[in-house]
Symmetry: C2
């Protein structure tokens, strides 16, 4: 059915070794014989068996990428970058979507066995020390994307800076009561970006001589619904914030909903900054932080291929810079509290009662 290297050898009147050399274009083969072999290969429509090659070389020619929650568009964008970078290298991209802890563990353990993939890309998953030890022990080249561990090669965005830039933007608009709507607190093997962004917010506040009080620091999962509820709570508490920095666009979406539901005008009464600059951010006019997601995938894949090729080297660390995208959900700080009843006609009440600014 399928022609093998032996068929080619016979037809070309050479040994199998020579055919193999031609396939892997070894320098040491006579141009004449090479031509003959190539002709025979064409004649037989020969294509080397990937499996056989994999077994005999010990290389799988594929790399595994483990992602949590393929629902998250930012992850997808990175995946695209990875795919793009890999497509030119001959490596197959094997995708594992892990949405539970058990599956994450079993998948990684399985992959570390080393027989299925030549390298590992962990996206948005920060491994624990123990897990990193297992990775190191296995010797499987591994690169973290959008995740952190000091002993592993990685490409991360400058999340602290992101938090800072977002906050500084609000500060420049005159906001003083700024809240941070973050993702879930750190768990093993999970997203840590939110924490860093929060730190950025805190730093920016501090260098403006302000604080980020704990009552303005709320967090929940990355869902829109949860974000809406949290924002709602914020807005209905005494002294509600006038600006919110969100850890993701999805959460910003929830925040926007909450504002709308509470009759709070954006951006006149409340400014909202998202994070990620997802597709829908443009539609919504969402001010947000953009990071080159696609690019991070490309770089991660590049580093991994390099690592596979040249063996362990110094731990490479690539930092991706982020930028603020100004749109229309942020504006000058209001003089009054953003808490509102649905479009009350008694508009004369725009005084300072709860509207006084901090300091």
């Amino acid at each position: 059915m399928h022609s093998t290297i032996r068929d080619v050898a016979r037809l070309a009147g050479v040994g199998t070794g020579t055919v193999s050399r031609v396939i892997n274009d070894s320098p040491k083969v006579h141009p004449g014989t090479r031509a003959g072999v190539l002709e025979a290969m064409a004649e037989l429509d020969f294509h080397p068996s990937a499996m056989a090659r994999r077994l005999s070389t010990g290389r799988t020619l594929s790399i595994g990428v483990v992602v949590p929650f393929m629902t998250r568009p930012s992850i997808i964008e990175r995946l695209r970058g990875i795919e793009g970078a890999l497509s030119t290298t001959g490596y197959d991209l094997v995708v594992f979507n892990v949405e539970t802890t058990e599956r994450r563990n079993s998948v990684v353990a399985d992959l570390l066995r080393g027989d299925r993939v030549d390298g590992l890309l962990l996206v948005g998953l920060s491994p624990t020390d123990t897990e990193v030890s297992a990775i190191e022990r296995s010797g499987l080249p591994t690169v973290l994307i959008d995740a952190y561990h000091r002993r592993l090669a990685r490409v991360v965005a400058n999340d602290v800076q992101g938090g800072q830039l977002a906050t500084r933007h609000l500060l420049e608009l005159g906001h003083r009561r700024i809240a941070f709507l973050g993702g879930l607190p750190r768990v093993a093997f999970t997203y840590s970006a939110s924490r860093l962004r929060e730190r950025g917010v805190r730093l920016a506040m501090r260098s403006a001589g302000l604080e980020l009080p704990s009552k303005y620091t709320v967090s929940g999962d990355h869902s829109r619904g949860r974000a809406r509820d949290l924002t709602s709570d914020l807005l209905h508490a005494p002294e509600p914030p006038t600006g919110i920095v969100c850890a993701s666009d999805t959460q910003a979406l929830g925040a926007l909903e909450a504002a709308r539901d509470s009759g709070v005008d954006v951006p006149r009464q409340l400014s909202i900054v998202g994070y990620d600059d997802l597709d829908f951010a443009t539609y919504l006019g969402l001010t947000t932080m953009r990071q080159p997601l696609f690019e991070s995938g490309v770089q991660g894949a590049g580093i991994l291929v390099e690592l596979i090729k040249s063996g362990p080297a110094v731990v490479r660390r690539e930092v991706i810079q982020v930028e603020l995208v100004r749109r229309s959900t942020t504006g000058p700080a209001p003089l009054v509290s953003p808490v509102g009843r649905p479009a009350s006609p008694s508009r004369g009440d725009t005084r300072m009662r709860s509207g006084r600014l901090d300091r």
Copy 2:
């Protein structure tokens, strides 16, 4: 380093054949020896080599999925479904993102060689007759998801029904002048859903004793900008439609923009129905058609695994039903023409409450 089946055999004092039988839990092996072998395997932390097994069995234990434009959220959702279904089967999921014609061709041709994957999943890619012939010749089990060819197993959404439901909804609201804003006309290996949806619209109109005139049938690429322009043209022509069925939510977004720019109130002067029920549809209050994207991936993968296991059978065809999600971009038909003058001077107003879009 890695222990092999032979090491296990030696330690357990049996032959390699027996070990192999234990691995594949063949019925014909004495409970006693089996226990011994298992113990030896545990002792040596033995794990069978996937590569060797693949070479020997001729099965790659992985399936390839080819998707165009991994950017499109609907594709991603399907991919998730595929991954989920496959994760329980032991098949690896190898992803190929094709964004150009050449790459698409080379990837598919490569995969058809049959040595890299046991089955093929084509998402959103309708192959031509010639390509289907190549697929059949290769004997590689193949399933289409969200794509069509009569000779291949497939899972498709009921697009005709979708167009009908959307249109019937508008008809029930009293609309008579209904337009269809479709995607690009059919090209090889490309999305054909738009055409079917259009047919649904036409059918619904007809059974209401109406027509879908060609001046109400416009199409462009799936971009928002193009949709905006097309809608704008529609609205400024004589006898503009009072309802528009769009082939995608993205296009509905463009339509909404056009309406706003022309000072046409939605839904009072113009009703708009989207398609897909993407994430942002909820936020915008977009009435739209929803189809179980995730489920389509699950089913497609299921059919493929079945196909691989039991060999070619009757061409299976799974039709996924769609449903209308009523929100606030559709309402009773107006009594007057929806043409208006360009929006009022309050151009700086950037509130989100009315679902305004950014430009």
